[in-house]
């Protein structure tokens, strides 16, 4: 009797794992320069993000969340977004989403910041998995030192999709706003370590 139960339990657990599937989306890919003292950075600017999605405002939305989360983390002070655009216009920078080292340095001087955050939104929206649809967002963020023009931190991260509990047991899944917020929050956390 007992061996049969054990066998049944093992089969059930195996089935559960197969149904649940393996997820690797939550694991970020990030780089942080080990020879840099991040306490040096006090004030940064967040540049407009490159929008690679069909959602018209995805770049703007994620940028607002990045600004808010950097401020809320208490790690750095952030320049007012309007000030960034004024500096961009003054310096005659045409494409803010692909800056070269010289432009990064010039922006640093004009805005009085030690670093700038650039990046892209690669995915933003609802994805369909069978009959279910759930939000999914992918972002890439980079921090460049305005003194050297080099990248000192970068991260690519995805969050979203309907999880096992939501798909099969009707558990609450995140809204797209919550997905963006938690994605950015977790990305910024890697900057603190």
């Amino acid at each position: 009797m007992i061996p049969t139960r054990k066998y049944l339990l093992s089969v059930l657990l195996l089935a559960l794992f197969i149904v649940a599937g393996c997820r690797s989306g939550g694991v970020p890919t990030y780089h942080i320069s080990e020879d840099i003292d991040f306490s040096f950075y006090k004030r940064i600017a967040v540049m407009p993000l490159n929008n690679m999605t069909s959602e018209k405002y995805a770049g703007d939305i994620v940028r607002q969340v990045v600004i808010s989360e950097v401020l809320a983390s208490g790690l750095l002070d952030v320049v007012v977004p309007g000030e960034v655009m004024s500096a961009v216009n003054e310096l005659g920078i045409k494409t803010v989403t692909s800056l070269n080292a010289r432009q990064i340095k010039s922006l640093g001087t004009a805005l009085g910041v030690e670093a700038i955050i650039m990046g892209a939104v690669e995915e933003y929206g609802m994805v369909k998995a069978g009959s279910a649809s759930a939000p999914q967002v992918t972002i890439t963020l980079m921090m460049a030192d305005t003194g050297t023009g080099s990248i000192v931190w970068s991260i690519t991260k995805t969050r979203g999709g309907a999880n096992f509990m939501a798909r099969h047991f009707g558990a609450r899944h995140e809204t797209i706003s919550e997905t963006v917020l938690l994605l950015v929050r977790n990305a910024i956390k890697t900057l603190a370590y």
């Binding site: 405002y57 309007g82 649809s133 609450r172 809204t175």
Partner: protein
């Protein structure tokens, strides 16, 4: 109570029967208690967890000195043409209900026109100082509406609203407080029992109330 099966044989039939009944009751109680715990665990998992509101407040800021505020037009990142206007009205009403003195929206627009400020997202610190002086306000509220929609979930539709608000001191253009907050999603009763959830308007009011609740 511990039941030692080895001792049962030494007792009388009556005592053995009583012990068997007690044991059965205890076993039933154990199963019942286990079911309650399992149900509570499942309920917790199904209900989901909410994220705490995280916001920025500049150190050593005395908010009691801020009495008069101008709410600038909010940026609209939604597909609803009037989302920003609707949320702006909610922000103003919430500030007024907290006893703040809020500048008339018409006056804000006039000042922007006079100072040739075309869009809020391009306002420099100098523009903020000028508009603050012109409107005679202690601080400006700038922000954007990121979501204002009915989203389609796995099995149900639900309202969703998110907003970013920043309080900027008009004298030196410093951000004193900043928050990004969202509300919405299908609750437990809507998901499982089809009960009527919040409306989009209610979700929007909730997000504004909770966001400003962290400030005043």
């Amino acid at each position: 109570m511990l039941i030692n099966a080895g001792n049962i044989g030494k007792w009388s039939d009556k005592a053995r029967t009583e012990l068997m009944i007690k044991s059965k009751r205890l076993s039933q109680y154990g199963i019942f208690r286990g079911q309650i715990i399992a149900a509570l665990c499942a309920l917790t998992l199904l209900a989901g967890c909410s994220n705490g509101v995280k916001y920025f407040v500049r150190k050593n800021t005395d908010f009691s000195g801020i009495q008069r505020i101008a709410v600038m037009p909010l940026e609209n990142f939604t597909t609803d043409k009037y989302a920003a206007d609707k949320m702006k009205s909610m922000v103003m009403i919430e500030l007024l209900s907290k006893g703040m003195d809020v500048t008339e929206p018409g006056q804000v627009i006039s000042a922007m026109n006079e100072l040739k400020i075309r869009s809020v997202d391009r306002m420099s610190v100098e523009d903020m100082r000028n508009i603050g002086r012109m409107l005679d306000v202690d601080a400006l509220i700038l922000g954007s509406v990121e979501t204002f929609t009915i989203s389609r979930g796995i099995s149900v539709s639900y309202p969703e609203a998110s907003i970013r608000l920043t309080l900027i001191e008009s004298r030196d253009g410093l951000a004193l407080w900043s928050i990004w907050h969202s509300a919405g999603g299908a609750d437990f009763w809507t998901r499982h029992f089809g009960s009527e959830g919040r409306t989009l308007d209610e979700a929007a009011r909730e997000v504004v109330k909770e966001a400003l609740g962290t400030l005043f």
